[in-house]
Amino acid sequence: MKAEFANPFITAAVDVLEKETGVKLSRKDLKLKSAPIPTLPISVIIGVTGPVRGQVVYSMDEDFAFAIAKAMLPSKLPVDQHRLTYSAVSEISNMITGQASIALAGENQTIAITPPAVFVGNNMQVDFLNVPTIALSFISELGVLEINIALSE
């Protein structure tokens, strides 16, 4: 795991959350882990392939997820709150990964990202990649966001 992989995700997370929800994220913590196992109840997994490959796992609590969805589309939220909330956190994760991938790909390479998969619940069993992981956490007025970056070249 190269430490430089973290910077595009930090920049993208701050930028995307501010543009989409008007919320300012602040860096809370950075930890090294042996796998991208999330610690909060709602998680979004995105696969990355190409010259840089692996998984990025986003994780947040329900309040943070609901607040994101509400900020993204307040007028439509009551129709089907859970479906839209999971769609919103998927899309935010997709945007952060997509924006980070621009920096990771550079001028001449292409990095593909998979559609996001949402997992809900604290006791979910998922076979995560066993790849050294940088775990970033952010705080905001909406709550905590964690990004587990398990990428290698």
């Binding site: 899309e91 997509g98 924006q99 991938s101 790909a105």
Partner: protein, 124 residues
Amino acid sequence: MSKMNMQRTGLIIDDATIMRLRLRDILEPYYKIVAEAENGDQALSLFKENKPDFLTLDITMPGVDGLEALQNILAADPHAKVVIVSAVGQKQIVFQALSKGAKDFIVKPFESERVRKSIDRLFD
């Protein structure tokens, strides 16, 4: 906005429900959104069925992705007006999409105005 644009029809293609709702919210005051698709396969059949005047097309989708869908749609109708709306704004991917025939490439997150103006320009 001219009355003529209100008669133009659009198809929104994105796997995320929230983005389809949002694009519909932005465009519906000015255009008639006739259908929504959540993957490339569905996009092609809804395109053939509805013959919309324009399409917004995401790239990262399950099954047939946006770049493949773009080729399929343009093979069905070389004059189709497709605007890509995607989070994956890597230079090589933008280049591929535009060289395959997309009219514009909007990178998410976007401003509502950027989307509306892009569609307006298709009919200038």
